[in-house]
């Protein structure tokens, strides 16, 4: 019965080959090309020929206050969004982790923000935030608080955008942690209860430690996406007012497709790539560690 054709023996490489070629063409080659462009001064609008300038584009962009602010803002936005989403998401999962009437409806509701088109979500929140006709200022004034300027003011714009991200993505953490909780063994909880531990003690010292790897993975998945947040910022503020909500992704987009300074935009993209790549490596390490 030894009847194994060439095709079958090499299946492990020709089966994935089309996918590999596709990713190489559409991801690897473009990333290398971006890297190459970051060492040039290419500007699509100037008409001047592309020249190799070494690290001069890096020196130029990296010393620009606008870039440094965008970098800081990217981290600030990500840290705030992920921290709040983590706290609320885990708390919601712990609350919902029991049998109750309407549990399946609750789960469906959790899915809705996750599948809602981000651009449209941003627009709906702009209606809430509108300083003159928005519902939020109406609520604030009804309870005697001063109205806010939300996304129209430099000081409040980033926090207002974080709030939208929190609304949309907290359910992601809740769903992942709920799935993690469902897979936990029941014996440790039972044992702690028999030993007389309170509900809070059980959650704090038994449940949370057991589900911690899942929580961490959920947080890092969110972290990677939060670093790249584009749609809601672009649709709600376009990076404004001024540059007050400009993150690296938005700045890179503007340099590429509004100013057409390809060399400098490539520098921004390389930095964003390195930031996200470093965080992604973290995820792989963490997953590997939690699997052993």
């Amino acid at each position: 019965m030894m009847r194994s054709s060439m095709a079958e023996r090499n299946l492990h490489w020709w089966f994935p080959l089309p996918a590999i070629l596709f990713v190489a063409m559409l991801m690897v080659f473009p990333v290398l090309y971006t890297l190459y462009l970051s060492f040039t001064n290419w500007n699509l609008t100037s008409g001047a020929p592309m020249a190799f300038v070494g690290f001069r584009s890096y020196a130029r962009v990296l010393s620009e206050p606008r870039f440094l602010h965008a970098l800081g803002r990217t981290f600030a936005f990500t840290a705030a969004a992920v921290a709040i989403e983590g706290l609320l998401g885990v708390a919601a999962a712990l609350i919902l982790n029991r049998a109750f009437v309407g549990r399946s409806v609750a789960k469906l509701l959790l899915l809705l923000p996750l599948v809602a088109t981000p651009v449209a979500v941003g627009i709906v929140f702009n209606l809430f935030y509108d300083p003159t006709i928005g519902l939020l200022n109406f609520v604030l004034q009804s309870v005697g608080l001063p109205p806010g300027l939300w996304v129209t003011h430099q000081r409040t714009v980033l926090a207002s955008l974080v709030l939208v991200d929190v609304w949309q993505w907290t359910p992601m953490i809740t769903l992942i942690v709920l799935a993690g909780l469902a897979g936990l063994p029941e014996e440790p909880v039972e044992a702690a209860r028999i030993d007389g531990a309170s509900e809070w003690q059980i959650i704090r010292w038994v449940t949370i430690p057991m589900v911690m790897p899942v929580i961490l993975t959920a947080l890092i998945l969110r972290l990677i996406d939060a670093l790249k947040t584009f749609d809601i910022i672009f649709a709600m503020t376009g990076g404004g007012p001024g540059y007050a909500s400009e993150t690296l992704n938005i700045m890179g987009f503007k340099y590429s497709f509004e100013y057409f300074r390809m060399g400098q935009s490539a520098v921004i993209l390389v930095v964003l790539f390195v930031v996200v790549f470093t965080c992604s490596l973290g995820i792989m390490r963490l997953r590997a560690a939690s699997e052993t």
Binding site: R3, S5, H12, W13, F15, P16, P18, A19, F22, V23, L26, M27, F29, P30, Y33, T34, L37, I95, L96, F100, A106, K107, L108, L111, L112, A116, T117, P118, V119, A120, V121, I123, V124, F125, L127, F128, I133, F138, W167, L175, I176, L178, A179, G183, V214, A218, I224, K228, F230, A235, F257, M262, S265, L269, V270, L272, F273, V276, F277, S280
Partner: protein, 271 residues
């Protein structure tokens, strides 16, 4: 259950508040889409009003949203279909031959910032005269769909016992025949999960389409965004457009709820 009454009331109160927070933006969007401009800018905001279909007429008659709807459907369907074609064999190979490095390589397309591919694509597609073409748009959306397909399906294939193909192969079938005739027919749930999720992500994509599509191939998210920028104060129209773009994804999610949950939580939770 004596003494459980008040905790239960508290519990349902908390759950109710959570549900309201999640639902409220949808409800407000929906109700605003049936309001006239006068009712929308009314102060205090109106809860009760006389509904109008005028906003939807504007969106579908004057704005040609049907065309963008068709474009989004074409791009999403083609991108998901091609991604299944490339991704299913790759996922099978990753699952059966434990090709972890290959899995990571394809997954990078999901993790890396899309803009670092988009700028070079823009240059290349312009040179090839492929701007505003379905080809360019579908290729770019495949880079969204393929990692999702590979991720979900390699996890799914790993749960199918190896013995199934092996016994067929002992009987003389080739492995590729066993994949087609035995494994794929058993993979319905996984394929539904991968298809639904990658279609929704393609449907919602804004950045790639914003750069690569123009009048001919414009997709819905871009149409909604453009509607906002030149009809700045027409909130009713914008809300109707927002409803129109979200409705299909939400209906898909309701139909395939179980699969969507599985797809979104897969990978973070082992097994």
């Amino acid at each position: 259950m004596k003494g459980r009454f008040w905790p239960n009331v508290l519990f349902y109160l908390v759950v109710g508040i959570m549900a309201l927070v999640v639902l409220f933006p949808f409800l407000w969007m929906l109700s605003s889409s049936f309001k006239t401009q006068v009712d929308i800018i009314a102060w205090p905001p109106k809860i009760l009003f006389e509904p109008t279909l005028r906003n939807y007429e504007k969106v579908f008659d004057e704005q040609d949203f049907l065309k963008y709807f068709v474009n989004s459907t074409i791009v999403g369907t083609a991108a998901v279909g091609m991604s299944l074609l490339l991704g299913l064999p790759a996922a099978y190979s990753i699952a059966r031959f434990r090709q972890r490095k290959l899995a990571v390589f394809i997954l990078l397309a999901r993790l890396m910032p899309g803009i670092s591919f988009l700028m070079p694509w823009y240059i290349v597609f312009s040179r090839l005269d492929l701007m505003d073409s379905y080809t360019a748009l579908i290729l770019s959306h495949m880079l969204i769909a393929l990692p999702i397909v590979v991720w979900i399906m390699s996890t799914y294939f790993a749960t199918i016992p190896q013995e199934l193909e092996e016994s067929a192969m002992v009987d003389g079938a080739t492995r590729q025949y066993a994949f087609w005739k035995i494994i794929l027919p058993l993979s319905g749930p996984g394929i539904i999960t991968a298809t639904t999720l990658s279609f929704i992500f393609s449907w919602n994509n804004f950045m790639f389409s914003q750069v690569l599509s123009m009048e001919k191939t414009r997709t819905l998210p871009i149409a909604v965004y453009n509607f906002l920028s030149y009809a700045e104060v027409d909130w009713g129209g914008v809300m109707a457009a927002a409803v129109a773009i979200m409705a299909p994804a939400i209906v898909l999610t309701m139909i395939f709820q179980k699969y969507v949950v599985k797809g979104l939580t897969m990978g973070a939770v082992k097994g």
